[in-house]
Symmetry: C2
Subunit: 699 residues, 2 copies
């Protein structure tokens, strides 16, 4: 047993300090405060030196990000489309990685004391008694095993390597929350059936197809003697799970910028957001399957069922938790008048969203999944209760966090190509993986699209299918999942291969999307924001299609949402007194906000009311009462004013300038609806958006 | 020598998990990824358990913050003025502290292995060889020395105790940056002489007065036998330094809400912001003095001089660094067209501001001080280059960060009252400290005000002096400085006493400010935002006073700033081609942005142009050319349009609706200015603020 205390940093500061996780930056210094500083000057000096060093390391990383931002600007400014900003961040990362790997030599100046102690496992905390004083040490992790005392040579590169949990606990949550929060819910809900199919069924198909192909390759490699370690079938499945998740980041950026067809965008984005959640739970279920049974990694029905149970349990638990926190925030923002103080409101919103993550982790669920659904719920309900100021603030805050986290991850990805020490690049495995990823994606998209097209009126064209195939980039989630555990040979090979897959898809597929779209002659420059009434020219066929798209379970959900949830959780919708049975009268009165009676249907959110925007709306109103408020105070920006029964339309148009409010409507969705004649409604653009005056009000 | 590995957490999770620093939350989990998880299931489970635990701990803290926010809202809603929000946060903290201290019992279920190892100092990192695998441990700090193996009993309470460096490295920077960034520079610069006097001279006076009084008390205590350990004169001085810093947080909140006299507000706020910087550097200089000489803590001229040199060096270094980063950000935002992409711009701004802190720490300067001056510089120059969207974003972002950090600190302050384990409450010392703080504040305010009034035309009245005396609350900085080192008996006693002082001043003085103001019959509800031209009715005497206030060094600075720095760093001001000597022509043309010629004087910033707003402006324009742009594109919101020479005024008034632009003015400040006849200029309110249309443009 060896016990090796050593100086963390040499006396002479290294020339180019390595990048150190920024959390550690502050922790290492911690020793300064607690230790008896006055009497222990050397420890003090060491800690101070280490603090400076860490500050310098982090500074380099921030400089890297700053450079990336400036280059992104240059690219946007000069309208270079061939490389996306995430690709750029990766290139900068690779450059720094090369410099650290080959250009920097840290002087080794450490005093080693090797002592023998009999310990037979590694505890999380050590208490060391030095001359009567107790020092606490925390476990940082295992260092490159088997290398014995040569570890110090890799000291610097090891320090560059982040704690993988940082990705899961700090960098991914804002990215995923932002994806949920900024989801264009109208287009999302219109295609929800197809999105769920691609995300759930497709990802599982892809996972198994990739797993099987890789198992074939691995068996072949074992036969040829190319394999340097164990590689079980569960490892193959795990690999399938982690590389099946497509990345929303790049898709969002490219397709949003190019303004392609809204349905294509919704399908791609919706799929990539949800399959992150699926992949995370799927991979952890596979890991949970692994140690079961007699550890022989053979197939076992019970363990398989247990894994499936874990998958369902964790997914639904995380889902429920995220939605529950969203509901709670909505209720709090509805029943307190926090909107008078935007700062408090924003802070509350931020804290509640963060607590979702923590709560899920504390309960053993998956924080990232919970945060995704929390984001969607917040956008659907809470957002409507916020003051206009907070709506801006929260959107911008999460946008910024997302941007920083995303660029950080992609820079780091580039960095690890050279800084990670246990890379296992196996050409055969890499070839197999690329092939498997390609086939897995194909097995997801084409058969599912065929099946979905049987049910869809608005067919997913073959061009769209090719684009979906091509745009299945792998990104942050794939990376985070693969770096989470790089202990075994199999995992190391997976990690290296995954890294190459991410690089390839981001650089080649990401960069090639624009040429691809023009080659496929898919129209770009479509206005995806059909939220404002003046762009609400829906042609008949499209309207019928979307109606068809909304299958009956979703229509029931819409109905429930509009009649009960929206009135309960927001200030909008019909008052609960009108929708609940009369026996619940007192409760309904208590839960309905006073605004609901007068501001009913008032939704500041641009695309929250996908429910009302659908074509089904035209046959939706059983008892419509339209009344206008000439003072303009009761503002109805929801596009629900489009498409009441036809005899109302002219009235609407005449009064559109004064805004329309629909009072006391009870939404009754016809489940077996006859095909309505298409109505084309064009509203003039509204006057200045409501709430622009109180925007300036501050806390 | 004892070597005590132990299980960090019992098998059974504790009922009410203690609050753990949130950085550790993510670090402890780190062990999961690195260690060979597959083979070492027990470590894996331990780490996972610990991760859950930490998530739960952090969750409790977030719930606490959420509760605070809701209560703050309730107080604001019901217009309770007797308790400020920071006081509230402290009360919640105290409650949780009491519960943790007396209500929670953690079951002790740890397996101890005690081993002997011969180590004679505590290194920053340990490598432990367990069955051939190397695990890395990092130093967390010393645990309550002298207690030997009983430390585990206090495990839980110790875990609640934050790493003190978290305050300096994470929580203080956003607070201080926000203070600098949101400074009302017009009022600040108008009173800069007095503010500097109070902040620098006053704080040093207060520090020495408190130090001397405390030394007297300590000597008395030693004579009576009330002292349980060493307490040197330098300790007394250190105590003086840490309790001399008044807190901007509470002052800002109370006085901003009540809208008291702008000059009083500027004096109090300016002083409290700057004396944070002074206190931080002063205290570290005193610490630097301490170990000098033969460690006898006696007075020594050389060491004293050295300390003074360190004070000057660190302060000016930090100042220069902060300003330099601010300049760099201004240049970058000026010469790139980043303003087309607000998200990139905001991200850059955030990263550059953060890098100031890191750069200063890496260079051995004080990050907090650098960040303060960086904030002021950013607000003065960079802010003008930002797009309106980014201006909002950055303001709101730092406002939010400030709010969260501030409430976190005050909650934690309340918590430590019960959770800190080494409290030393000595009634005599506490009495002495309260007396010393009172006298020290008096020795700062009254004599300095008397001296300043000799020079000021706009006297600081005795009522104002009493308010300044009363409103000298101690807050976050005092706490952070005192908790930084609690190793010796002296420091522990200081910390406990400081905590009581903070509690007393925040609760009693903070809560009593409103009654105090009305008792003193100091008018509240004054409009402190005299930025908009329609409130620009300055009466003659005030104008002469402010002119007098601006002593010649400041006028030279104004001149330099307006003629050279503003044109160089922003798009506004006279073009450099007009202000620089002709020999620098090509350089000047290169550095002047095209907008400078047309948008000269265009400043979106509300209070950045303190220079032009001063009364001296009326005699400032040597060659004024006023031209208007009827299209309204060239918008001059700066109040510099007030007070050109009298014959322009009518012209101005007539054209005010179309905005006024002053082109090609060269600002020449008369150093020996004759007293100008007072001119009262009232401009009608401007039309809608510029830039409200492009606000919606997004990346």
């Amino acid at each position: 047993m060896g016990f090796t205390p050593r100086g963390f940093l040499g006396d002479k500061p290294s020339k180019a300090p390595p990048l150190f996780p920024f959390l550690l930056t502050f922790l290492l210094v911690g020793s300064r405060g607690d230790s008896n500083a006055m009497d222990n000057v050397s420890t003090e000096r060491l800690a101070e030196e280490s603090h400076r060093q860490d500050s310098a390391n982090l500074l380099i990383f921030i400089t890297l990000l700053t450079l990336t931002i400036l280059t992104i600007w240059l690219f946007k400014h000069r309208r270079f489309r061939f490389l996306h900003e995430t690709g750029l961040a990766m290139i900068y990362g690779v450059l720094v990685g090369v410099i650290l790997r080959f250009g920097v030599h840290v002087p080794q100046n450490m005093s080693d004391v090797i002592l023998g102690c009999a310990v037979n496992n590694s505890p999380a905390t050590l208490l060391v008694n030095v001359s009567g004083r107790f020092y606490e040490y925390t476990l940082k992790g295992e260092v490159s095993r088997g290398k014995g005392h040569q570890v110090q040579d890799d000291e610097m590169l090891r320090k560059v390597t982040f704690d993988p949990e940082v990705f899961f606990n700090i960098l991914l949550p804002p990215i995923i929350f932002h994806a949920g929060y900024s989801l264009k819910r109208r287009h999302f809900f219109r295609n929800i059936g197809s999105i769920l199919a691609y995300a759930f069924v497709g990802t599982v198909i892809s996972c198994f197809v990739i797993g099987l192909i890789m198992y074939g390759f691995v068996s072949f490699m074992k036969a040829v003697g190319q394999l340097g370690g164990d590689f079980f079938f569960t490892d193959c499945l795990f690999f399938g799970a982690i590389v099946s998740a497509t990345d929303p980041v790049t898709v969002l950026a490219i397709f949003n910028e190019l303004k392609v067809d809204v349905d294509l965008y919704a399908l791609l984005f919706g799929e990539s957001v949800l399959n992150d959640a699926v992949a995370i739970v799927l991979s952890s279920s596979i890991v949970a399957y692994q140690p079961a049974g007699d550890n022989s990694h053979s197939f076992e029905a019970m363990a398989m069922l247990k894994s499936f149970g874990i998958f369902l349990g964790v997914f639904s638990g995380s889902f429920a938790l995220g939605v529950a926190t969203g509901f709670m925030t909505a209720l709090v923002t509805k029943f307190t008048k926090l909107r008078d103080f935007p700062l408090l409101e924003t802070a509350l919103f931020f804290l509640m969203s963060w607590s979702t993550f923590l709560l899920a982790e504390a309960c053993g669920f998956t924080g990232v999944v919970a945060v995704l659904f929390c984001g969607i719920t917040q956008a659907h309900y809470t957002f409507n209760n916020l003051s206009p100021d907070s709506q801006d603030r929260t959107k911008q805050l999460f946008e910024l966090l997302n941007f920083l986290a995303e660029n950080f991850i992609f820079s780091y990805m580039g960095l690890t190509l050279f800084s990670f020490q246990s890379h296992v690049f196996n050409p055969l495995f890499i070839f197999g993986a690329f092939l498997a990823v390609f086939l897995g994606r194909a097995a997801n998209i084409y058969p599912l699209s065929f099946l979905l097209n049987l049910g869809r009126k608005n067919k997913i064209g073959s061009k769209f299918q090719h684009v979906m195939m091509f745009a299945g980039l792998r990104g942050a989630m794939t990376f985070a999942l693969s770096i989470r555990d790089t202990a075994t040979y199999a995992r190391q090979m997976m990690f290296s291969t995954t890294l190459l897959i991410v690089f390839f898809t981001v650089w080649i597929c990401g960069g090639g999307t624009t040429p691809m779209l023009s080659f496929m002659s898919i129209p770009v420059g479509v206005d995806s924001d059909q939220d404002s009434p003046n762009s609400a020219v829906l042609d008949g066929s499209q309207r019928r299609d979307t109606k068809h798209e909304s299958a009956w379970p979703f229509r029931i959900w819409y109905n429930f949402d509009h009649n009960y949830l929206k009135p309960l959780l927001t200030h909008s919708g019909p008052p609960l007194t009108a929708t609940l049975p009369t026996c619940c009268g007192p409760l309904a009165r208590c839960l309905t906000s006073p605004q609901a009676y007068e501001n009913e249907g008032r939704l500041f959110d641009d695309d929250s009311d996908s429910i009302l925007n659908d074509a089904t709306v035209s046959s939706m109103y059983a008892d419509v009462t339209v009344s206008t408020d000439a003072s303009g105070r009761t503002v109805n920006r929801s596009s629900g004013t489009r498409g009441p029964s036809d005899d109302c339309v002219d009235h609407d148009l005449a009064l559109a300038e004064h805004e329309v409010a629909i009072r006391g409507t009870r939404l009754v969705l016809p489940v077996d609806d006859p095909v309505e004649p298409p109505t084309t409604v064009t509203l003039p653009s509204p006057p200045s958006p409501p709430g622009s005056e109180p925007r300036r009000q501050r806390l």
